[in-house]
């Protein structure tokens, strides 16, 4: 905790994958970065008291509650960090904002556009009272990604012609992999599209500084029935004995156009055998190109088309230099960062905005806009890939 700074009480909802990542970020941010407020890991909220207490002990939270509504009235909670599945984002975030708590909400912002709109409205109301909100597109805070954004903004690749984004995973290739909540529409909203497609859409718009205006899409569910997971077998509402229907997409592909004329293609899938977390983006401009792959997250590929053809080539920039985003706070050049550092950077930027009274990005409105892209994707896929404009 930075000496003399005011505390920032945090209440976190959820303690699974995202909860662990956020906890590590709240714990670490102030150890490497100067923060205007000292994060205080005050309260963890989980449905089951015993499980939540064990998680709080492990992850380092002082108190435990089982009803998220309690967070809204506690004095030791100034910010609610929503790490629960998408189906509860809207309810919690709106209530928290209305209760005057800052909100950090994991992506996708919500499971439906209507929910997302309600959240944006709540964020607008809250903002008038100095209450801030942010959606957790953590990959923006990979140093290589932030550098890519800077190079585009500096004009280093010129007018953008092509955007190529993929998010490839392979964890459900086996048809016997169980029907976890991420494969159920009522909990997760959509499948690969909302879970990982949302990330690559946000990344592409962030790096280019431009927005998609329309899409043509294709989705598929390769494996339509899966075994129910052990724990929830009793709750199965559909499917034969012990099996349930997969009602989300396994893969989503779409073409798109950006407002300034670039063409784009996107693909999100959990069936790309051997690709573990291949969040990839390539951007080709009139003066140069950029390419990124999260599986080598400390590297950015940059082609400078203004160089002499004799020595031009894609450069592998190790994004660990003192001049690179966030890097000076960490280790010497060549000593790479890992996945959880993206969350540390997210927290650092959020807390600095809270201290300065400025608006964090990505905003809930940014989250809604991604939601509108995903919505257009689903509408196009349902209409024979017909071109669909993205709503404003």
């Amino acid at each position: 905790m930075t000496q003399g700074s005011t505390g920032l009480g945090v209440g976190m909802v959820g303690h699974a994958f995202m909860g662990a990542a956020h906890s590590q970020a709240w714990r670490t941010a102030g150890r490497f970065f100067d923060l205007p407020l000292s994060p205080d890991m005050a309260v963890l909220c989980g449905r089951d008291a015993a499980t939540a207490q064990a998680a709080a002990d492990r992850l380092g939270w002082r108190h435990v509650v089982t009803d998220w509504k309690e967070l809204l009235t506690r004095d030791d909670v100034a910010l609610v960090d929503v790490c629960a599945p998408g189906d509860v984002h809207a309810e919690i975030a709106v209530a928290a904002l209305d209760a005057g708590k800052h909100v950090l909400c994991e992506k996708p912002l919500a499971n439906t556009v209507d929910e997302a709109r309600a959240m944006v409205a709540a964020a607008e109301r809250a903002r008038a009272n100095g209450v801030r909100s942010m959606v957790g597109f953590n990959y923006r805070r990979v140093p290589a990604v932030a550098l890519a954004r800077q190079l585009v903004a500096d004009g280093r690749i010129g007018e953008i012609r092509h955007v190529r984004g993929t998010y490839l995973q392979d964890w459900i290739v086996d048809p016997e992999f169980p029907l976890v909540w991420r494969l159920q529409a009522d909990r997760a909203g959509s499948g690969a599209l909302g879970d990982i497609g949302a990330h690559v859409v946000d990344l592409a718009q962030f790096v280019t500084g431009d927005r998609l205006t329309g899409v043509s899409a294709l989705t598929e569910t390769f494996v339509r029935e899966r075994p129910l997971p052990e724990a929830s077998r009793g709750l199965a509402a559909s499917g034969g004995p012990g099996r349930g229907r997969v009602d989300v997409d396994d893969a989503a592909l779409f073409l798109g156009r950006f407002s300034r004329g670039a063409l784009a293609s996107f693909e999100a899938t959990r069936f790309a055998t051997g690709r573990k977390n291949a969040l990839r983006l390539e951007v080709n401009g009139s003066l140069g190109s950029l390419a990124f792959d999260f599986e080598a997250m400390n590297e950015l590929s940059f082609f400078d088309g203004t160089e002499d053809a004799r020595t031009a080539g894609f450069r592998r920039i190790l994004v660990t230099e003192a001049d690179h985003p966030w890097a000076a706070a960490w280790w010497p050049p060549g000593h790479g960062l890992g996945y959880e550092h993206t969350f540390v950077h997210e927290i650092v930027d959020l807390v600095r905005d809270l201290g300065a009274g400025t608006d964090p990005v990505p905003s809930f409105a940014d989250g809604l806009q991604v939601q509108l892209v995903l919505d257009a994707v689903l509408r196009s896929a349902a209409a024979g890939s017909q071109w669909k404009e993205i709503e404003e």
Copy 2:
């Protein structure tokens, strides 16, 4: 020339880029491979006598003619090799086949589906008389690509889920690059789509052993007017003084489905700054994955999903071992091949088929099928990306 073998007189039409590549292949094939017939580089055909003679001297052809029709009646020509632009393919190939000459025709087979159909019909007629035909999708003969095909056929990657194909170049990024014939619809048929998109479509269908059934597409012309090339400035029919309209696509993107259920995305562009000849293909199956990039043409990436996760990873296979396609004829392991070797292999396989009296592949029917894919792409792009079935 293999001792004691019968000769195979060749007449080649065209002597530019493809003419040079084919000449080197005709000259080299018999030096490294046992052939049943000895290629004889008999006659080169070019419109301008002086230019053609110079080309023949340089490329090593014995005679020169300026009218391709002469080839059809010469005894020293048993095979016509069509390396001219696409607008003349149909006329020459049909006449040659009907005259009893074998035909090797560069891709794309034709500029229109109707022409391609006529060529297939001619090929069928000729075949009854033992006259053979082949379309020149040379990239099938990259050893790494042929190995990929074998691994798919052997079941090493299982049921195919995803196909990702791109052909990225950057030679017309500069808006001052002139309006060469490849940018004119009447000569080239289409732009990036027919020139390089045709290659990646053929490659994807060849490697998977499957066919596309439908597509949704997007095309774009980024630079709509270009300076006329020095030589043809006087011929400009449109545009301002010294400039002409680009009436072909600069880039084409499309999504597709294969008959056995795989999803696909394709992109062909000449605006991918820094990508010089990035003909790339990735195929993900239920048991493994394959990836190829022509810019590293001697390598194939292979992920074997049946391996222990502890040691599984994409392997970089250097496709230069004696057990690899065509490789035993060349150099020891690790001594790579180059672009023109794909043409040598094409000629080797063609001549062996001629010797054995078997049908070479890819056939004109294969060329037509690719044409039908490209046609569906253009129809979809013209119809708001609506899904278009590919005609049989």
Copy 3:
């Protein structure tokens, strides 16, 4: 802190680069791993009270002392973590062990062989009383490196023929880079050799499970005079006004033999422009090969020579699977780790050994053995590269 566990009070000496890395590790270890003892970041020791206090606030230590001897008598310190420069390792570590404190000591173990021997003797004395010691060769705890060790031990690469190790950096290429303590023999012992060469020697011996028996060496100091750093300018004992002599090696190269017959080459340099932290190791065996580069620390290259030549190739294993060393405690596959995780793993293993009453590795004896290798390197370099046996 794991509930119900006993605490482990830690006193750390030094708070620069290594101090920050160790602090993060002490803080994090118990959050992701089950530990038998709960690390308690009790006391930080630094020469200057104000600087040390600021560091303690930032890094999260409860108390501050300026004399390391105080740590030896405190009840809240059970382990002394030595992160100071090499010239004080021996004095502190020996005293701490003799006082019954466990010791974790940064590498190189000492600046001289004599000091290292004294430390090993102290470690032996202490061990009799259940007091443990460990030297901090953190790169052993990169998951990819530990996997490499496992594959060698499993016999996957057979009999080892070749070892190729480099540690390449470039931070003093500029002759105007100042004469920091790492470039002064009285503080650092040696230059690139002891700082980074020690790491690559340890790594090679760890991965192969074998020991070097002799070396032939070459060292060089390319830039022999440098500006004094601002802070210590007054202390300059030599050189012209404001400049001082570099009396350590800028680069050290050596050949070696392992006890089981492998040939080895090593290189440690701070003059490899563009190489930021290229700790690389390649091992070729009769059945396969392994290659690692810390600049891509989440990857291991593995060639299995027992495979069919048709599909053999170096595999890029993403070492982030649940079956990989330490990986299950972190994130899903493909979500990489960073530099500081090596220290977390080091602490985890150390604390588990303390809990189990077993000896941590690498031991002080291992540290001495590396020191003996470095000593032989310096003796050989001083004797015209003559072969020098490594003392036992």
Copy 4:
């Protein structure tokens, strides 16, 4: 054959691996490059008449002789191309030069320094009469290598500090691989050292434009007895029944210094499992670095240390642009070359020198100098790795 040009009659000795490569080069050079003389593949010389005739038919030579001395008196032979094993280089080359024939001699120049000196003397004598000679270090003619040489000469990497060269192969890892002539001292002179070590030494000196002055070395023979090859089983002078002694090195490692101060390490081995033809060179200078690996022969890695650290990184230059050495004569950018193109470029440069009356490089003197390096390596290895100066 370029019209109107004078012919250059070639007589080649040997028709195995190198003979095939040279034949392809003689055949191809004039088809892509303007040459002042037209190579005429006149006479092939081989010991066995039938085998030689078959080779001549396949490789395209007009006449066959079984005694190389016949070449010296033939009018249709102006140049003798020596592709036989090293033990006959000196005798043939000296006689040919003295007979007024130009000589292209494969590397290593000779099996002993004395032979090499005699060849240099003959070359000097012949030069006075306008008779030229060249030694076949073909890897200098990889475009990426020639580009590296240019960048060094242009000062792009500044003062050179480090050279790291390896030539790694794995074709004799299996102890049952037979005792071919390359493993016999009386034919091959040395093992990996002369066969592939010679290449990497030449490459390092060529790219840096500097010469090695001394070395410290280590050699090893891992497998000391091997089965005799089928054909020569009866000739075994030593070893048990059907087995023979390997009396050359399997691997050679050495450290070195260049005349301008750079440190170097070299390794040549045939026991690097998985490395097929890894002729690698890295050069680090005060302003930048270069790296090359023949297994990706169309690429050069270049780090420009004068760039902003924010965007600096190793560039992967695809060395296929019109501005790159020899590239304009071949294909468009991104269409790579293969192994045999290095021989084409060698012939092109040689024939142009013959036409211009200038001295080809590398000269016999260059070949002798490499021989002197190898000699120092063997002397050092025999003397406990003691430093040995390289004779002038």
